[in-house]
Amino acid sequence: MATDILMPALSPTMTEGKIARWLKKEGDKVSSGDVIAEIETDKATMEVEAVDEGVLGRILVPEGTEGVAVNAPIAVLVADGESVPEAGGAAQSAGPSAAPEKVEAAAESATASKPAAAPVALSAPEPEKDWGETSEITVREALRDAMALEMRRDPDVFLIGEEVGQYQGAYKVSQGLLDEFGEGRVIDMPITEHGFTGMATGAALTGLRPIVEFMTMNFSMQAIDHIINSAAKTLYMSGGQMGCPIVFRAPNGAASRVGAQHSQCYASWYGHVPGLKVVAPWSAADAKGLLRAAIRDPNPVIVLENEMLYGHKFQCPVDEDFILPIGKAKIERPGKDVTLVGFSISVGTAMAAADILAEQGIDAEVINLRSIRPLDIATIVESVKKTSRLVTVEEGWPFAGIGAEIVMQIIEHAFDWLDAPPVRVAGVDVPMPFAANLEKLALPQPDWVVDAVRKLV
């Protein structure tokens, strides 16, 4: 049976090429793998191998011809002893030429009917659930309690990282966990972030639920490929077959006097990635409730903690079942004149600014984001509808930061309610300096927020 040999596509971008040379002539026998021609593509001169066996019956496109379209018949292959059909192309082509056209048609229809992105639910936020009795604990204790409670609840949960076991945690967050759960579930790692993050991610792909502690989030950059390419994308790349229930937690942002490489906020970095959830607790209740939710979540969750907050005490519900939803912000302080939005340590900055503003007769509403991704834009929109003014506060750099994202979404959803341009208060756009005075100048202070608000009202 005669078969057309078609002009092959030899690169992802090739649409046409030149037949540089025929290496077989009419009447030659060819078998699978034989080089029959050389073709110049948009990238290089490449050899074309025969796929089927037979005799080269007729060359349809002579060598030297340029601009030969991909999928055009260039020769006819016949069985040994078979005559070559007259008039060009054979009846039976090496593949139905209709298929690529169908693909193009389908692609066009896909473009035409491109589904709109899922609409943002802008219904009024539900009030915070009342969990009853509270007691004062530190953020550090809250994080440890969250891990202990979840490890008791689910034997598939384990903690892995540098100094999490015998050392009791580089920042003492995992204190006591080794004693309770043993070295099978509180697993000390050598200083090898790329390796152990990949290992934990692989274990999560099988359904285990690792909590990966980085000594600080800065070191997660050694492992960022696994966080993004392996953990966040595998569910999508597998068509929903293979999820990755894993938590990556670490102190994030500036600590105190530790210099540029150890003082950086990753909210914007990780918040950028579909397939990840990102939470950033401020209070002890945030820390406990959000970390528990992160551990139970079937997706990869980044928990951005803050070293400066570890020793702070807050009231936290004592209820054994206390947990917070990921994706819900909290109004920490209601107000009517301006909306201040912060996360992690910047919530404290905003609260301090609100106190100063109150003395000046300005009633600020403070929103604690709690979750960076998904972002609870509905709560911010409701607040802006009331205050008509917005100031975002973060320690990260302003360029493509969380403030930039919030402001853009407010422009999309609440532009008509704004009485003044929104303002970002952010870390200064420089690597973190070491000197005490310079470091203070680089990080948002309550005064910066007050000054920003004073310009708006």
Binding site: M46, E49, N71, G95, P96, P190, A200, L235, Q241, M242
Partner: protein, 337 residues
């Protein structure tokens, strides 16, 4: 360490580990991969497969010999040159081909492509496009086996090119430190894209010794001989199942085709490829072994015809299946809790 690293290259061709029935299965599986890949190359040339497409032709003895040494529950992970692993693991050629053409019926519903397919059912954990990343993930599969207290092993494949990545050595250390049941399989096909192993590794003659600093036993294996691959893998797997920790196999193999489809092949001589095809082809080798042991030519022809039909069916399925529904764009980003 119980096992002194050795090379069994010399012994390779005569290794008797596969009997006639085993060789028949190997012949079938290797030929299925070969024919599948040839067809994939053809579909690429016709524009039905886009983007990257890394063919496994020439290396078939590696995955087939390894697979025949595994048991149910053992886990497999590899790089972007993954079609052979998937077919050897028993994944449906229809679903693999349909993923190559980006159709809704593909293993990843058209969202993964050539480099990203997975099967929980067959314990195939991908299909990874970042060179070397699958090695750290692979020890994670082994970690999970150990955490759950099973005797299953993780077969972690990577190329000799990936063997220069830092995380490979981090993984060697972690696997040895925690005695993880992981068989590292270096598929040394001599070229990382267009760079020969001699030009990329200072240890090019003995990658099987790369685990020595961590006490990981290693073996160099004739990766063009399915029996030798099978015998070495059995030994490695037994070592891991017994709780001794990881094992390293270097499979000396060869890829006939380019790195990907747009490979100008200027880095090696055509005669080098022809020499291996003609004298060391893994499928020809098994075919002559089977004929020598008294199997009839007609029986092998029947196997070939059966494979031809399977590949033709997979191709038709892949061509005629619908593309993913546009709404699929937004699904599978997150698991809804």
């Amino acid at each position: 360490m119980a096992d002194t690293p050795t090379s069994n290259l010399a012994a390779g061709r005569n290794d008797p580990s596969l009997d006639t029935e085993g060789l028949k299965r190997a012949f079938h599986d290797m030929l299925l991969i070969r024919r599948f890949e040839e067809r994939a190359g053809q579909l690429y040339g016709m524009g039905l497969i886009g983007g990257f497409c890394h063919l496994y032709i020439g290396q078939e003895a590696v995955v087939v010999g390894v697979q025949m040494a595994l048991k149910e529950g053992d886990k497999i992970i590899t790089s972007y040159r993954d079609h052979g692993q998937m077919i050897a693991a028993g994944m449906d050629p229809r679903g693999v081909m349909a993923e190559l053409t980006g159709r809704a019926t593909g293993y990843s519903r058209g969202k993964g492509g050539s480099m990203h397919m997975f099967s929980r059912e067959k314990n195939f954990y991908g299909g990874h496009g970042i060179v070397g990343a699958q090695v750290a993930l692979g020890i994670g599969l082994a970690f999970a086996n150990k955490y759950r207290g099973t005797d299953e092993v993780s077969m972690t494949y990577f190329g000799e090119g990936a063997s220069n990545q830092g995380q490979v050595y981090e993984s060697f250390n972690l696997a040895a430190l925690h005695k993880l049941p992981c068989v590292f399989v270096i598929e040394n096909n001599r070229y990382g894209m267009g760079t020969s192993v001699e030009r990329s590794s200072a240890a090019s003659q003995h990658l099987w010794r790369n685990g020595e600093p961590w006490g990981i036993p290693g073996k160099q294996v004739d990766g063009m001989d399915v029996s030798a691959v099978n015998a070495a893998t059995r030994e490695a797997v037994a070592y891991c199942r017994a709780g001794n920790g990881p094992y390293l196999l270097e499979m000396s193999t060869y890829r006939y085709r380019g790195h990907s489809m747009s490979d100008p092949a200027k880095y090696r001589q055509r005669s080098e490829v022809d020499e291996i095809r003609q004298k060391h082809d893994p499928i020809d080798h098994v075919r002559s072994q089977l004929l020598a042991s008294g199997v009839e030519e007609a029986e092998l022809k029947a196997v070939e015809d059966g494979i031809k039909a399977v590949v033709a069916d997979a191709t038709e399925f892949a061509k005629t299946s619908p593309e993913p529904d546009p709404a699929e764009l937004y699904t599978d980003v997150l698991v809804e809790a």
